[in-house]
Amino acid sequence: MNSTLKTLPDHNGFFVPAVPGGHPSGRRCRDVKNFSRKFLGGSPGDGHGTQLNRGYGGRYVAETLMPLIGEIEAAYDDARADPAFQARLHELQRDYVGRATPLYFAERLTEHFGGAQIYLKREDLNHTGAHKINNALGQALLAQRMGRQRLIAETGAGMHGVAVATVAARLGLGCVVYMGATDIERQQPNVQRMRLLGAEIVPVHSGTATLKDAMNEALRDWVANVDDTFYIIGTVAGPAPYPRMVRDFQAVIGVETREQLLATQGRLPDTLVACVGGGSNAMGLFHAFLDDAAVTLVGVEAAGEGLESGRHAASLNGGEPGILHGNRTYLLQDGDGQIRDAHSISAGLDYPGVGPEHAYLHDSGRASYVAVTDDEALEAVGLCCRLEGILPALESAHALYHAGQLAAAQGPDQVIVVCLSGRGDKDMDTITRHLMPEEAQA
């Protein structure tokens, strides 16, 4: 694997700098002392230090799952170091997923904004249409290696569900996908696709019937079926080692981007931009560049109807640290610590948490996080279709919108890479309703 895997979880699964006392390189990370207290020691005012407040990540799950998750960690570390496993992964990435994906110079978008050069990392061209399959394939191979016959997954937009159903079919494993009843309604094509691939779809009605509830339900299934089941979490969240494992499987995005840009332009990008739901496509793009202090990393959260409206999914911009789904991270929550509903026009960003490594990069200042509204994302969809002939997923359109704003403010010597995490076919209903209401009525 590449040698720049620097931000590692410590022995308790918390994200801390790889060099003790060190900190990730980054322009905005100056307060080293404060940084190491926050991430390596206890919390201020607490004499003996509390594990609960020492960082982001961890493994906060019910006892029934603890031993199992420990097994997954051991199996993963073993597989990661096994050349045969890596070879099989690479072969399937190439021949089945279609990697490497192109790094495409978006000439007309660049012209339109009249500033920085905009490149698109085309994860939408992967088999099944999004970056999700990078992770689904890796974890499914691990499940197979561990002798697990049944895969379960949660899904929001359905892209992760489709990716898991797809690799389950390919590897001959059973597959059950948990999906919120609300999301089933707004992502019908993906639901039908998963069924066609042989997966069982379980509608989740509990809570708010969206992604977080699907994740609760998948965890409940797992607790009841520990013997034969492997839970493929779809983003860089969940109990350790998931955030690290999913990041590693997605890191191919940034590794390729780096090679491609060096090969064609002989340089590194100035800025990377990716949308952040749980944060897997963003971590995938960022990871290979974490140690390149000159590369600015920007994550784009969903501002929904606006941060001030309260109807958004921006955990880093509008949330506070807490514990959900096995890890400590930024969460949308009320004053009593109850999790609040997230809102975004894109089902894939509609999650009230964010991967713990992003929480860490946010606090350290190594990456910055902005938020883009539903309407702005829709505008970017229209623009990308008309200027580039590419229909982006609503999720990815959040990143595109912000990249456009940045490009317009920068000079032509600057290079921005946007992760085009998925294609927008699944969103046609929503897009038509908003951008072409007359068509939707017809």
């Binding site: 410590d10 022995h11 003996h48 006892e63 570390d77 509990s206 809570g207 409940r220 350790a240």
Partner: protein, 291 residues
Amino acid sequence: MSAPSLTTEMSKTDTPNPVSPNADSRLARRFAALKAADRAALVTYVMAGDPDPSASRDLLARLPAAGADIIELGMLFSDPMADGVAIQRAGQRALANGQTLALTLEMVRDFRQRDDDTPIVLMGYLNPLQRFGEDRFLQAAAEAGVDGLILVDLPPEHGAAMTARARDLGLARIPLVAPTTPPGRLPALLAQGDGFVYRIAFNGVTGSRRLDIAAELDSALDALKRQSPLPVAVGFGVRDGGTAAAIARIADAVVVGSALVERLAAAGVDAALELTRELAESIQGARRGES
């Protein structure tokens, strides 16, 4: 350059001194009395604030007279990963009717005015406690007259500091032990445990199925007993007097949750108390060869 495994590292780093300041706690006294009477404890789980604050207070006040030896009081959380539908819905009802952690602590304080003997154990998830303030919560719980805590999503790997502070305040940290728990993990779990050990009867969420008493459970309890002087409670899936009695013969305590919560939802406080009485009678008869 992979990180060392969490499971292998934890026992070294996070195990506090296994001293129990709770020898004369309400929990210890209650278990001693039950032991003298050769009877298992009935532990009843109810969600604080379910279905509404006043009915919940009424139920709490009357549970001991109906036969509850220990009361487990649920602290609601919007995302209870380890609970089945019955308890999820109980939490939603309580939330909809305005229950908060502060009100739950107040309920305990009021209960203690009239009953200074029945142990109360709070059960829940970490996030609401953290939001309330961990230290503030522990202090308030101890002052209100809470005896112990069951924290579903706080494994010993992350729990050492909290356990130490809870102990200082005389609050027992009741460890959950699962069928999946390998023998090698038990010492770390037990080192942070006081009050009693909660043995989860099967792999699954609360209330998800009816428990079959299998020989495995019997031998698992024996193994636990050999490693810990603490009483052992068994819970998850106890729905009727027959199952309760069967457990009462092999364990020190029987936990009933979902069945009670369902009865409360379907038929109200009096019906829930009626079920409590039935279960208490079955448990009382269990070791005398009745069933």
